[in-house]
Symmetry: none
Subunit: 212 residues, 4 copies
Amino acid sequence: MSQAATKAKVKSRTASKQARKTQLIKATIRSIAKHGLSVTTMAIVAKEAGLSQGIINLHFQSKEKLLEETLRFVVDEYRNAWYKALESSGSSAANKLLAVTGVYFDKRICQRNKLAVWFAFWGESRSRPTYRKICAERDREYKHVLAGLCGEIIAEGKYDACADFAAFGLLAMCEGLWLDLLLTPVDMTAGQAEAVSLAYLRGIFPGHFPAN
Amino acid sequence: MSQAATKAKVKSRTASKQARKTQLIKATIRSIAKHGLSVTTMAIVAKEAGLSQGIINLHFQSKEKLLEETLRFVVDEYRNAWYKALESSGSSAANKLLAVTGVYFDKRICQRNKLAVWFAFWGESRSRPTYRKICAERDREYKHVLAGLCGEIIAEGKYDACADFAAFGLLAMCEGLWLDLLLTPVDMTAGQAEAVSLAYLRGIFPGHFPAN
Amino acid sequence: MSQAATKAKVKSRTASKQARKTQLIKATIRSIAKHGLSVTTMAIVAKEAGLSQGIINLHFQSKEKLLEETLRFVVDEYRNAWYKALESSGSSAANKLLAVTGVYFDKRICQRNKLAVWFAFWGESRSRPTYRKICAERDREYKHVLAGLCGEIIAEGKYDACADFAAFGLLAMCEGLWLDLLLTPVDMTAGQAEAVSLAYLRGIFPGHFPAN
Amino acid sequence: MSQAATKAKVKSRTASKQARKTQLIKATIRSIAKHGLSVTTMAIVAKEAGLSQGIINLHFQSKEKLLEETLRFVVDEYRNAWYKALESSGSSAANKLLAVTGVYFDKRICQRNKLAVWFAFWGESRSRPTYRKICAERDREYKHVLAGLCGEIIAEGKYDACADFAAFGLLAMCEGLWLDLLLTPVDMTAGQAEAVSLAYLRGIFPGHFPAN
DNA sequence: AATGAATGAGGGTTCATTCAT
DNA sequence: CATGAATGAACCCTCATTCAT
């Protein structure tokens, strides 16, 4: 049992409903990261949370609902980090772009365990419309914001580029680099992946992201 | 039963050992594409192939082996298309790069059903080392070839760019665009995705991929 | 929540121990009538009573005890109506017989919901000796009283009949008619069922139950 | 394990599909008779049949379907005996009535175990429309035939009676007597129950069923 | 080589019961 | 007294695998 699970064992019978749900969601994430989505069972999640079998159906109606809320949790957690970076990075569009790109490869977010969770859900998204919707919504939101930032930069620098294409390409590249980090962690570190994405930005917006 | 399954039935009598295995692998791919990996059972695959329950364990030792060989089949099929495009695209490095990029978004390859299969396997790759190895090997191979092509172009055009970074970025972007096509097919077509990747190439190698 | 349940909630604060038990028993009866015995769970009963989950095990030792007391309640309630009818029907044996027969098809008693409860318990009686005993005792008691009444009538009318047989037959017919009302309520009303039983009495004791 | 179950153990892997279904249905009946419907689980039925857990869902889609087919089996078995008696009892309506009444109390049919099965299903019929329909259909059929026979007898004997009422009463009495035999087997035997029903027939059709 | 009935371990889920509050 | 979150045994059902044919 992981350290987190052990800590969870120090439990009271009166944890707030939301706290207990979060506890179970986190146990689910750990299980997917460790064993994969297809191996993750109710029993494993419950044990990982240090709780009993029946508790999941007490707080979520079914395994499916648990997984949906888990996906939502992961998406929201990421989104929070994203907007936080966006807001705390000054007013320059270039700096903002740099900041949110950085989020993708942040040590706290870009861990193989977490990447495994993303790909686990993406892998199931074709056959589970709910997953697809949640992920699609997220993608659209990011694309919209990124296209806005790229648009500002293009206007400033009078670049011959399409804001949408630049934004879509950036997002796609970041997610594609996640795949690299998942599959070939030996060949590439998060830092190198970030460097690749920055090389992209430098390539299309050379005036705004000068080589260091 | 699909048309493909019906056709499979006809040839079942005289199928050689290898042909039977391929028949089952193709049925597996169809099932993953249609229902998802987690829903794909031995019974569904057998039915999709127009054959009986027990036959899979006769030709493959287990479900796991079937899935591994299926992944290998998908990877190989893709690789063949890749090299074919590479070879039939003349001697110019730029043309070759264009050709292999085109493969990613080729009508015959870039279909949601097939993308679903890729993501299904990637989604399980963290917890199944065998999947990971097969996919990782494929990635390394492509990266190596792409880096070579990018190196040639950089030398030709005297671009201020890193060949590895350009190649890694291209590959990552293409795979990231696949995710877009999987999640938000309404927002983006394969053609647009290809345009995004070409915009990338134009951005970093403007002399070799002029705007049309 | 039903109206009854809402009303129950209001009085819950000041309910005495026995009143609370009765409240739960009535909720049990409503649940069996509505959903059936096999679907009736502690949670449903508690909710129907407008009370909390754990309360049943506080007042009854187990679900089994609750069901036993519920059966006893139903039996007693019926018995009360029976003797009340018996006593308030004058001194003539024929009138008494008419009165208790009428109880079986009384609007207040002969409702499908209530019949469902009787048959639910009878259906389980084979495998639960306690149920069987309670029901058997009831049957014996009624048979004894009915046989006495039939005996009086036979003596009065000098009928060529066996008092026991007439009584057993009457009781059996009434309970068999309940089955009809349970299974084919469209084909037969309580009034018609009563007419059938009266036809029986007229048939065997023509002088005492003349055709109207 | 019962004798029947032991015999079932001498099994082949190629019993016909229908034979295996019947085997499971008979095991279900034994289980309901022994333990009651509410205690009857898939595991118990499978064990009683000398087969494995999963087999029930192989031949029936669900427990519910198994129970439905079991009820139908019981109903059909009874109906067969009923019509056989009807046909082999000569042409006289009175004899036919006697014969089918006899079926109710036949040693081979009127066993507590079998009665328990009937009442088990009746007890659930309120909450399971399918059960109710099957039982109701059966009741209607019998009532119709019995009313026809009673009509003939009434015409022959010029009795002052209603054919429907006589028939409904007879059927109800027989089923009510089953309840007696289920609840108070000590107080009454099948023979006595039959005598009660004959007393009824004699009472209403004295010319056709003379006292012996 | 091929079939498909049979197996049984293990999945998700329910629910009577317990217990800290 | 009363609550309701928590438990865990036992339910029904699925499905990879086996095996007699």
